[in-house]
Symmetry: none
Subunit: 230 residues, 2 copies
């Protein structure tokens, strides 16, 4: 597992190195810059996963540093370190370009919490609606990400439509998957032909799943299908 890279901009040397040490112990790869200008230079020459910027810095403050970065079209997550004395509306302004901010003095666990939250979000490949992608269906194991359906030692590759449909059925396991919803979700259109196409895929899936008699895709006439597994 590759370490996640953080760019830390902090002019206070003491605080800066303490933070760097702490985050490195927590298994991040941290680059420390002593002011905004240096930070921007480093930023341009390396790829970081996220940034932590002190707002108050000589030469180039965190706000304007962020502005420069955003002007390049970069959407990298940024956390600000703000002073407690700072007025609320100024903080509001910062929030526009930043993903989060934290008020000094803060405790390191608090900062770590925010960082891990962002990192987790990043590693979810940017999806906001994180759906599960591994399902147990009777004796089968269905991995919607890898698009594989496995029973015992036999692994079957699924096509994308097969995969999408089975995934929806799994998300609604033991409950009805409305035909119209499946069509609108997968085929983007609900008409006679997409409907018949879906029936063809239901047949395919039933065929794939026939080796475990305890599970079944049953039809609810006029409504949709239900993946039954009990």
């Amino acid at each position: 597992m590759k370490k996640n890279k953080i760019l830390l901009a902090e002019d206070d040397q003491n605080l800066g190195t303490i933070l760097q040490d702490f985050l490195e112990i927590k298994n991040y790869d941290v680059t420390l810059a002593v002011n905004g200008e240096k930070a921007f230079e480093v930023f341009q020459t390396q790829n970081f996963d996220m940034c932590v910027f002190d707002v108050m810095m000589p030469k180039l403050d965190g706000f304007n540093l962020t502005k420069k970065i955003r002007e390049t079209g970069n959407e990298i997550p940024i956390i600000f370190l703000t002073a407690k004395s700072m007025s609320q509306d100024k903080i509001e302004g910062f929030k526009v370009g930043a993903d989060d901010y934290i008020t000094k003095p803060f405790n390191t666990e608090e900062l770590l919490l925010r960082i891990t939250a962002i990192m987790r979000r990043l590693n979810k490949s940017g999806e906001t609606t994180a759906e599960p992608d591994e399902f147990k269906i009777g004796k089968y194991l269905f991995n919607a990400k890898k698009r594989t359906l496995t029973i015992d030692k036999n692994s079957q590759k699924l096509t994308s439509k097969e995969n999408s449909l089975l995934k929806l059925l799994c998300l609604k396991k033991n409950d009805i998957l409305e035909r119209s919803i499946a069509l609108k979700t997968i085929w983007k259109e609900d008409n006679y032909f997409t409907s018949r196409s879906m029936d063809v895929y239901i047949a395919k899936l039933r065929n794939y799943l026939k080796d475990d008699a305890s599970i079944e895709i049953i039809n609810i006439h006029g409504s949709g299908f239900k993946l039954q597994d009990e």
Copy 2:
């Protein structure tokens, strides 16, 4: 123990992910949607235990999102996140469709308290919502989940309408099942044609159940039917 699933709709990414993380730490399975429309899409394709909706959102606000969900007949518990500036009568309006609401800025423990309250209620009355799906009818065994009706060694597969109707009769065994209730539950509409269709299904069920003379579906003229088994 399976995690309870929460659908969280919040357009403010910062607040959204922090809430998500917080609730996940508290052992909930949280799906975050960044606006009302996305939330509705996700809602249709998965089963959630409850929802937390921000009232103010682009595309589809929490109020109209709730309206859409309620229109599908779904009674899922919903908590609103409202802004403090909101007028009291507007909040009153929201309360109609929602189970609870909480005013920003709120502290996370407060939200958690409301969520656990609802979850506790759900898991208690879970016995109410979790309907039995196996019934003894005289010498018959009826499995509403598998849609089978068995006597001795003979197993009969039921269609979805036959199954639904027999299940309702069983839930009301020895008591009257109102015609209008059955129609609204199964056919979603109470009119002359659905009513006659129901009579046809009553005839089918009587035919299926004829091998045990001790049980009977009797008609209560003008009211409905009763599955008698004594």
